[in-house]
C-alpha cells in the first residue's frame, strides 16, 4: 500500500499545485489507460512500432475484440481478402485443417471455408458522450461533434507541440492542459460554429488542473469505477494519433531516466470535452448517456464474438506461408559451414537485404552475414556543427556512445554553423508576415526555374541534400564519422572500445574464419519530397541511413589496439583482414563504398573484384525487384535508370516497396537458408548457438532484433488491416504537421500514425499480406525457453500469438513450434 501511495505521489508532480487530487483508484485507471497507448516516432526518425505494444499481455484475438468495442478498430482483413487468397489457391483446405487442428476447435474445414462467402459483421463501438450528443442533435447534414472536437483538440495539439512550423505558439508554461484551458476559454469557435451557446458557461467552469478535471468528470459523468479504465482508453483511442505522440514523449523521457505526463493531460482534455457536452447538453442528454453507459458490456460481448472464427482464417493464411518456408529451410539441415571466402559482407537483417544477399552470393566466393543494421553499437550521431545529437539505434534502446565527424579542419565547424544560421535568416525573410510579400516579388519568378528543374532536370537532384546542408560536396565527402566519446561526453577507454568491437563480432556470430575483406553494409533509401522518407531508411539506425554506423564500426574494427585486445579475448582478426564500410541504397540497389583510400595496397585486387561483384549483384537484385515496381519489361540499364529516376522524382509516391511483404525471420547460420529464395519477405540474422556459450547472444537477439522485427511486422500488419486508425491514409493528401511531428490526411483531423496506403497497396491489390511474423530459430529449445522465462514481455509475444516461434533442430532434422507454451513438432 505504501508503495502504491508513493507512486501516485510521483505521478502527480506535473499537476498544478491547486485542486483536488484524484483518488488512487481513479488515478490508477487513468494511468493504466495511458499506458495502453504505444508511442509513435516523428517523421525525421520514423521507425516502425507495433501500435499494440502495450497490449501484448493479452492474446491478440482478445485485444482485437477489445479494440473493436472501444474504437471500432478492425484487426483482421475483410473476409473478401481471405476469399481472394482462397481463389488464388494460396490458401488451401490443408491450411484450414491445420489451423483448426492447432486451435483444438471442433470444426469442419467446409464450415470454415463457408465463412468466406459471408460478409463479416459490421462492428459497433461503445458510444461516448460525443456520440450521444451527435445522435441527439441529428446533425447529419453538418459537421458532427465527434469530428469537430477531434479537429479542435488536434489543432490545438499541433500548435502546442509544433516544432518549427509556426512562428507563434501557444504558451507552454503550465503544461498542455493549462494551455488548452486558457485557449478554449477565449475560443468563440465552438459556441459559434456548433451553435450551442450553452458551451460558454460549461467552458468557463472548467477545473484548473488536469487532475482536478479527472476527478470532476469522473464524479459528474457517473461512469462505474470498473468501466473507468476502458472509458479512458476509448477517449485516448479517439485521438489515438496525438495520444501516441504523447506516449512517444513519455517513452523518450523514460529511456533517458525521466518521466513525462503529457498523455495524462491529453486524456484530461479529451475528457473535458465529454464533460462540457454533458454539462451543455441538458437533461435529455444525461438520460441518454446513462443508457449508453449501461450498454457498454453488450458492445464488449458482441465485439469479442463477432470475428472469433476469422482468426482461424488468419492462422491458416500464416500456416500457408510458414509451412512453405519450413519445408525449404528443412532442406538446408544437411548443409555444413562453408569455407572462408575472400570477401565477407555483413548486411542489416532487413528483408530488402535478403534479395541483395542472394544476388551477391551468386557472384561466387562471397559470404554474407545478417545482423542488426546498427551493428550492435548504441550510438548517437552529432554531425559537424550540429547542436543536437540524433539517435542512430533502435527505438528500444538509449544511446551510450557518440559519433562525431572527424577528418575536417576545426574551422569548418564554425563555417558550417554560420552558413546554417544564414539559412535560418533567409527563412525569416521568406516566411515572416510582412516580408513574405517582398519575398514573393523578389524571388517568386525564380521558382519557375526550380519547377522546371524538378520536372525535367532530375539528374542534378539529390535525395538527401539535407544531410549536407551548409557544406560543399568536397567538405561533405571529407567527413569521417567515428566513435569519439561516450554519450555523456566522457572519453572512451581502450577497454570499452575493445568490448564494443567484441560485441559487434559476437552479435553476428563472426569470431573466426575472417576473410581478407570484411564489408559492413548499412542501408538507406533515396527518395525526394517524401514526408515518410525515414520510414524507408534503416529502422535499427533510428530511421536514418546506416552509413554513419557502418563507417564508425568499420573504423573501430580496423583499430590496431582494438585488434590486439580482441585477440586476448579469443577473437583473432588476422592482420590481412581489412574492414570496409558500404551503403546499400535500397531504392536503386546500388552499393557504395566508403573510406576506400584506407584500403591497403595489398587489397586493391580484392577491392576491384568486390566492386565488380557488387555491380553485378545490384543488377541482379534490381532485376528481381523490377516486376513489382512495374518495370519488369525494361532492359537492365533501363531498369537502373528508371529506379534512379524514381528516387529523384518529387512526385513519386511509391519509390520502393520498403519492407512490404515481410512475414518471417530466420535466426540461424546462413547455410540453412542460403539455397532458399525467400522473395524478400524474410528478415535474416546469423546465429551459431555453438559459439554462444552462455546464450547471451541468443538473449540479445530475441530481446533486440526479434522484437524490432515484430514491431516492423506489426506496423505493416496494423496499417494494412485498419489503415484509418493505424495507417496514415492516402499520401496524396498528406499535410505535414509541426515541421516533423507527423501528417494530417487532408486539412486536419487526428495526426496519423503508421504507413500510407501507397506503401501497402499498388492501386489494384494489397502488396503487403498482413501475416504475423514466423520466427525460425536455430538454438536449443531449453535455451530459447530460458530466454523467454527471463523476459516475460518476449514470452507474451510468443504465447499470446503476436508471432509464431519455430525452432530449427538440425540434429533431429525437425522443425518444432511453440504453441501454448509447449514445443511440438510442426506438422508437415
Amino acid at each position: 500500500m505504501a508503495n502504491a501511495d508513493r507512486r501516485s505521489f510521483d505521478d502527480v508532480e506535473v499537476a498544478a499545485p491547486s485542486g483536488a487530487r484524484p483518488s488512487s483508484a481513479l488515478e490508477e485507471a487513468a494511468e493504466r489507460a495511458c499506458a495502453s497507448i504505444a508511442p509513435t516516432w516523428p517523421l525525421d526518425r520514423f521507425i516502425a512500432v507495433n501500435p499494440f505494444w502495450s497490449r501484448t499481455d493479452k492474446p491478440l484475438p482478445r485485444v482485437a475484440g477489445e479494440l473493436a468495442a472501444l474504437s471500432g478498430a478492425r484487426l483482421l482483413m475483410p473476409r473478401s481478402w481471405f476469399a481472394a487468397e482462397w481463389r488464388a489457391e494460396r490458401l488451401r483446405p490443408e491450411h484450414l485443417r491445420a489451423a483448426i487442428t492447432a486451435s483444438g476447435a471442433e470444426m469442419k474445414v467446409k464450415h470454415l471455408s463457408g465463412l468466406l462467402r459471408i460478409e463479416e459483421p459490421r462492428q459497433s463501438r461503445r458510444p461516448l458522450a460525443v456520440d450521444v450528443m451527435d445522435a441527439r442533435c441529428r446533425r447529419e447534414l453538418e459537421v458532427s461533434w465527434r469530428d469537430y472536437i477531434m479537429e479542435r483538440v488536434s489543432r490545438f495539439c499541433a500548435s502546442y507541440f509544433d516544432d518549427g512550423q509556426a512562428h507563434v505558439r501557444p504558451v507552454r508554461e503550465g503544461g498542455l492542459y493549462a494551455s488548452w484551458r486558457s485557449q478554449v476559454e477565449g475560443d468563440r469557435g465552438p459556441a459559434l460554429f456548433m451553435a450551442l451557446p450553452e458551451i460558454r458557461s460549461a467552458v468557463a467552469s472548467l477545473p484548473k488542473s488536469a487532475d482536478e478535471m479527472l476527478t470532476v468528470a469522473a464524479a459528474d459523468l457517473g461512469v462505474p469505477p470498473a468501466e473507468r479504465e476502458a472509458y479512458f482508453q476509448a477517449l485516448l483511442l479517439d485521438i489515438n494519433g496525438w495520444a501516441s505522440w504523447c506516449a512517444y514523449l513519455r517513452w523518450n523521457a523514460r529511456l533517458a531516466g525521466r518521466d513525462d505526463h503529457h498523455i495524462r493531460e491529453l486524456l484530461s482534455i479529451r475528457l473535458a470535452w465529454e464533460w462540457i457536452l454533458f454539462r451543455a447538453g441538458g437533461e435529455e442528454l444525461r438520460t441518454d448517456w446513462g443508457h449508453a453507459v449501461a450498454s457498454w458490456p453488450t458492445f464488449d460481448r458482441v465485439a469479442q464474438s463477432a470475428r472469433a472464427e476469422d482468426w482461424l482464417l488468419q492462422n491458416a493464411v500464416e500456416i500457408a506461408w510458414s509451412s512453405e518456408v519450413r519445408r525449404m529451410l528443412a532442406e538446408g539441415f544437411a548443409a555444413s559451414r562453408p569455407s572462408t571466402p575472400s570477401v565477407q559482407a555483413a548486411f542489416c537483417l532487413d528483408v530488402r537485404s535478403e534479395i541483395y544477399r542472394r544476388a551477391l552470393e551468386a557472384q561466387g566466393d562471397v559470404g554474407t552475414i545478417g545482423c542488426a543494421g546498427f551493428f550492435g553499437v548504441a550510438i548517437e550521431y552529432t554531425a559537424l556543427a550540429s547542436e543536437r545529437a540524433r539517435p542512430q539505434l533502435p527505438g528500444l534502446m538509449a544511446p551510450k556512445y557518440r559519433v562525431t565527424d572527424t577528418g575536417v579542419p576545426d574551422s569548418l565547424e564554425a563555417t558550417r554553423a554560420s552558413r546554417l544560421h544564414a539559412g535560418h535568416a533567409w527563412k525569416a525573410f521568406k516566411s515572416t508576415s510582412l516580408s513574405s510579400f517582398a519575398f514573393v516579388d523578389a524571388m517568386g519568378l525564380f521558382f519557375a526555374g526550380t519547377l522546371f528543374g524538378e520536372t525535367f532536370g532530375r539528374a542534378a537532384r539529390h535525395a538527401d541534400e539535407h544531410e549536407a546542408a551548409g557544406l560543399t560536396p568536397a567538405e561533405d565527402a571529407a567527413r569521417k564519422p567515428r566513435i569519439t566519446s561516450r554519450a555523456d561526453g566522457a572519453p572512451l577507454s581502450r577497454e570499452e572500445r575493445c568490448a564494443l568491437a567484441e560485441g559487434v563480432l559476437r552479435g553476428m556470430s563472426l569470431t573466426r574464419g575472417f576473410a581478407r575483406l570484411l564489408l559492413l553494409v548499412g542501408h538507406g533509401a533515396a527518395t525526394r519530397n517524401n514526408p515518410h522518407a525515414s520510414g524507408l531508411e534503416c529502422g535499427a539506425c533510428g530511421g536514418h541511413s546506416g552509413k554513419v554506423n557502418a563507417r564508425a564500426v568499420a573504423a573501430l574494427l580496423n583499430d590496431a589496439d582494438v585488434r590486439t585486445d580482441l585477440a586476448a579475448r579469443g577473437i583473432a582478426i588476422p592482420e590481412a583482414t581489412h574492414v570496409l564500410a558500404g551503403l546499400h541504397n535500397t531504392t536503386t540497389d546500388d552499393v557504395s563504398l566508403f573510406d576506400e583510400d584506407a584500403v591497403p595496397a595489398t587489397h586493391q585486387r580484392e577491392l576491384a573484384d568486390l566492386r565488380a561483384k557488387l555491380e553485378r549483384a545490384s543488377g541482379a537484385a534490381r532485376r528481381e525487384r523490377a516486376p513489382r515496381l512495374g518495370l519488369g519489361d525494361l532492359s537492365d540499364p533501363d531498369v537502373h535508370a528508371a529506379m534512379i529516376e524514381r528516387s529523384k522524382n518529387w512526385a513519386e509516391v511509391r519509390p520502393e516497396w520498403g519492407l512490404a511483404g515481410n512475414a518471417s525471420f530466420v535466426i540461424a547460420p546462413r547455410e540453412r537458408s542460403r539455397h532458399v529464395d525467400l522473395a524478400g519477405r524474410s528478415f535474416l540474422h546469423d546465429y551459431r548457438f555453438q559459439e554462444d556459450a552462455d546464450f547471451a547472444v541468443l538473449e540479445q537477439i530475441m530481446t533486440g532484433p526479434m522484437v524490432v522485427a515484430h514491431w516492423i511486422n506489426f506496423q505493416y500488419y496494423a496499417s494494412t488491416v485498419d489503415n484509418t486508425r493505424y495507417g496514415c491514409g492516402n499520401k496524396v493528401l498528406h499535410n505535414v504537421v509541426g515541421g516533423h511531428l507527423g501528417v494530417y490526411e487532408g486539412n486536419g483531423g487526428d495526426i496519423r500514425i503508421g504507413l500510407s496506403i501507397q506503401s501497402l497497396h499498388d492501386g489494384e491489390r494489397w502488396v503487403h499480406a498482413p501475416l504475423r511474423l514466423s520466427v525460425f530459430l536455430e538454438a536449443p529449445r531449453a535455451a530459447i525457453d530460458g530466454v523467454l522465462d527471463k523476459h516475460p514481455k518476449v514470452r507474451e509475444l510468443v504465447d499470446h500469438e503476436w508471432l509464431h516461434l519455430f525452432q530449427l533442430d538440425a540434429r533431429d532434422q525437425t522443425v518444432f513450434v511453440r504453441r501454448g507454451g509447449v514445443w511440438q513438432p510442426a506438422p508437415r
Binding site: 473478401s80 554560420s418 510582412l434 489503415n723 497497396h761 489494384e764 494489397w766
Partner: protein, 523 residues
C-alpha cells in the same frame, strides 16, 4: 509572310491553345489517362510560346473578335502553359493507382482550357463564361474523393460562393453593357479613358465586379473554402493556388483603365485586400501544418495583389501574380520536403529575435540600403510615386533576416547581408522589368491617402509581428495567439451562415465510421 498579318496569325495560334486542351478531353482513355493530357499540355505550351513570339515580333493593334493577345495575356498564357505541364507531369506519377483518373484528367483539361480561354478573352461575357467553366472544372477536381465528408462540405461552401460571385458578375455585365453599349474589353476601357468620371451605374458595376472578385480570390471573410480544400490531391491544390485563385487579379489588370477611374471599387479593393493581407499573414505564422500555412499565405498574397490593384500599380500587381504563382506551385508540390528542410534546419537552432536585434537590424538595413535607394531614385528610369512606400516595406522586410543573422554572429551576418543585397537587386530588377516591359502605368486617380493607409497598415503589421516574435510569451502574444490561430472566427461565423442558408446534402455517416478516408478494400 506580310508583317501586318502576324498579329492575326498569332491570334489564330493562340486560339488553338484552348481548342487543343478541350479537344483532348475526348481522347482521355482509361488505360493511360494522362497520355492525351500530357500531349495536349505540351502542345498548348508550345503553341503559346509560338503565339507569344509571333505577337512580340509584330505588336500591332488587335483585330476585332472575341480574343486578344497582348503583353498581359501573353504572360498569363505562358504562366498557365508552364503550370499545366508541371502539374500534369506531377499528377501522372503522383496519382498512379488512384481510382477516377479519367474524370480527373478530363476535369483538369477542362479547367486549363477555360483558364487559357479566359486569359485570351477580349470580351467580358466570354471571360465570365470561361470563368464559370474554370469553376466547374475545379469543383470536379476538388471533389476528387467524393467520399470525404470534409471535401464535400468545403466544395459546397465554395460552390455557394461561386454562384454569388457569378450573380455579381452577371449584374455587373448588364450594367456595363447598358452604359457602354458593348462588352468588348477594349471598348469598355476606351470608354473609361475618354470619360472624366464614371457614371453611377458604372460605379455600381465595378463595385459588383470587385465584390465577386473578393469572393473568388478568397478574401476575408469569404476565405474559408481555400483553407479547407486540402482534401484534394496536392497537384490540385497547386493548380488552384497558382493558376485559379489569382484570376480575379488578372481581371482587374485587364480592366485597369476602367478600374483606375472606379474610386469606390478601388477603395474596396484596398480596404479588403489590406485587411486580408495583414490578418492572413499573421494567421499564417500561427498555424502548424504546412498546407494550411500555404493556404493562409495565398490568402494574404492575394490580398496584397488586390491592394496593388487598388493602388493602381497594375504592373506590380501582374508581377506579383506571376511570381506568386510559380512560388506557390512549387511550395505545394514540394510540401512533402518540409521534413527534409526541418532536418537541415534543426542542426542549429535559430536564435531568438530579441528587440535589441530588431533595432540593430533596422539600423543596418537603413545604412546598407541608403546608397542603393538613392542611386535608384536618382536614376532617370524611375520616378514613380509608388517607389517610396514600396522601398520602405522592403526595408522593413529585411529586418527579421538581418536581426536573426545579427543574433547568430558576424559571419552569418555577412552571408545574410549578401542575401539581402541580392534580394533587393532582384526586387527592384523585376520592378524595372515589369514597368518597362509588362504594362504602361495607368495609375489613374488613386487618392494619396490610400498609399498612406497601406503604408500605415504594413508598418502596423511589422510592429505586430515584431512584438509576437520578440516576446512570444508576453501579454500581447498571449492575448492574440488563440484568436489568430482560429482565424479570428471569421470562417466559423461564415460557415454557420452558409449551413443555415443552404445546408449541404451529405450521406449520414455510419455510427462507427471516423473521418472517412479512402478505403481501399481488396475485392
Amino acid at each position: 509572310m506580310v508583317p501586318h498579318d502576324l498579329p492575326s496569325v498569332a491570334l489564330v495560334v493562340a486560339r488553338l491553345v484552348p481548342a487543343i486542351l478541350v479537344t483532348a478531353v475526348l481522347f482521355v482513355s482509361k488505360r493511360s489517362p494522362f497520355a492525351a493530357t500530357s500531349a495536349a499540355t505540351s502542345a498548348a505550351l508550345g503553341l503559346s510560346v509560338v503565339a507569344v513570339v509571333l505577337h512580340a515580333l509584330a505588336p500591332g493593334p488587335t483585330p476585332r473578335g472575341l480574343v486578344q493577345l497582348d503583353v498581359v495575356s501573353s504572360a498569363m498564357l505562358l504562366l498557365v502553359g508552364a503550370l499545366s505541364i508541371v502539374v500534369v507531369r506531377y499528377s501522372r506519377t503522383y496519382l498512379a493507382g488512384e481510382q477516377g483518373l479519367v474524370r480527373y484528367a478530363r476535369s483538369l483539361l477542362l479547367t486549363l482550357a477555360c483558364v487559357t480561354l479566359l486569359v485570351l478573352s477580349k470580351n467580358l461575357a466570354l471571360l465570365v463564361v470561361a470563368w464559370l467553366g474554370v469553376g466547374v472544372g475545379m469543383h470536379q477536381l476538388l471533389t476528387f474523393y467524393p467520399r470525404r465528408r470534409q471535401a464535400v462540405i468545403v466544395a459546397h461552401k465554395k460552390f455557394l460562393l461561386a454562384r454569388i460571385a457569378d450573380l455579381c458578375f452577371f449584374a455587373s455585365l448588364v450594367l456595363v453593357d447598358f452604359e457602354v453599349g458593348s462588352l468588348d474589353i477594349d471598348t469598355v476601357n476606351a470608354f473609361a479613358r475618354a470619360s472624366s468620371g464614371l457614371s453611377p451605374p458604372l460605379h455600381l458595376a465595378t463595385v459588383l465586379l470587385v465584390f465577386g472578385i473578393l469572393l473568388k480570390t478568397a478574401q476575408l471573410p469569404f476565405h474559408g473554402w481555400i483553407l479547407q480544400v486540402m482534401e484534394a490531391p496536392t497537384p490540385v491544390s497547386a493548380l488552384l493556388h497558382a493558376g485559379v485563385v489569382n484570376i480575379g487579379g488578372f481581371v482587374m489588370i485587364r480592366l485597369a483603365p476602367l478600374m483606375s477611374r472606379a474610386t469606390f471599387a478601388q477603395g474596396l479593393l484596398v480596404a479588403v485586400g489590406l485587411v486580408t493581407a495583414i490578418v492572413g499573414s499573421l494567421v499564417m505564422t500561427t498555424r502548424a501544418s504546412i498546407k494550411v500555412v500555404l493556404a493562409w499565405s495565398t490568402i494574404a498574397q492575394m490580398g496584397f495583389m488586390l491592394v496593388q490593384c487598388g493602388l493602381g500599380v497594375w504592373h506590380l500587381a501582374l508581377l506579383h501574380l506571376l511570381a506568386h504563382s510559380f512560388y506557390k506551385a512549387h511550395s505545394f508540390l514540394s510540401a512533402g520536403a518540409v521534413v527534409d528542410t526541418w532536418r537541415a534546419g534543426s542542426l542549429v537552432r535559430p536564435r531568438r529575435l530579441a528587440l535589441r536585434f530588431v533595432g540593430a537590424a533596422v539600423l543596418v538595413v537603413g545604412l546598407v540600403a541608403a546608397p542603393f535607394y538613392a542611386a535608384f531614385v536618382l536614376s532617370p528610369l524611375h520616378a514613380s510615386p509608388s517607389l517610396g512606400p514600396l522601398a520602405l516595406a522592403l526595408l522593413l522586410s529585411f529586418v527579421p533576416m538581418i536581426g536573426r543573422a545579427l543574433a547568430a554572429g558576424r559571419r552569418a551576418l555577412a552571408l545574410a547581408a549578401m542575401s539581402m543585397v541580392g534580394a533587393a537587386v532582384s526586387y527592384f530588377g523585376w520592378h524595372v522589368v515589369s514597368e518597362e516591359v509588362l504594362l504602361p502605368v495607368d495609375a489613374g486617380a488613386v487618392a494619396p491617402v490610400a498609399w498612406w493607409v497601406v503604408v500605415a497598415g504594413l508598418v502596423g503589421l511589422f510592429a505586430a509581428q515584431t512584438i509576437l516574435h520578440a516576446n512570444p510569451a508576453g501579454r500581447f502574444a498571449r492575448a492574440l495567439q488563440p484568436h489568430l490561430h482560429s482565424g479570428l472566427y471569421i470562417d466559423d461565423w461564415f460557415t454557420r451562415l452558409t449551413f443555415r442558408l443552404w445546408p449541404p446534402r451529405l450521406e449520414r455517416p455510419a455510427s462507427t465510421s471516423r473521418r472517412s478516408s479512402v478505403t481501399l478494400e481488396a475485392r
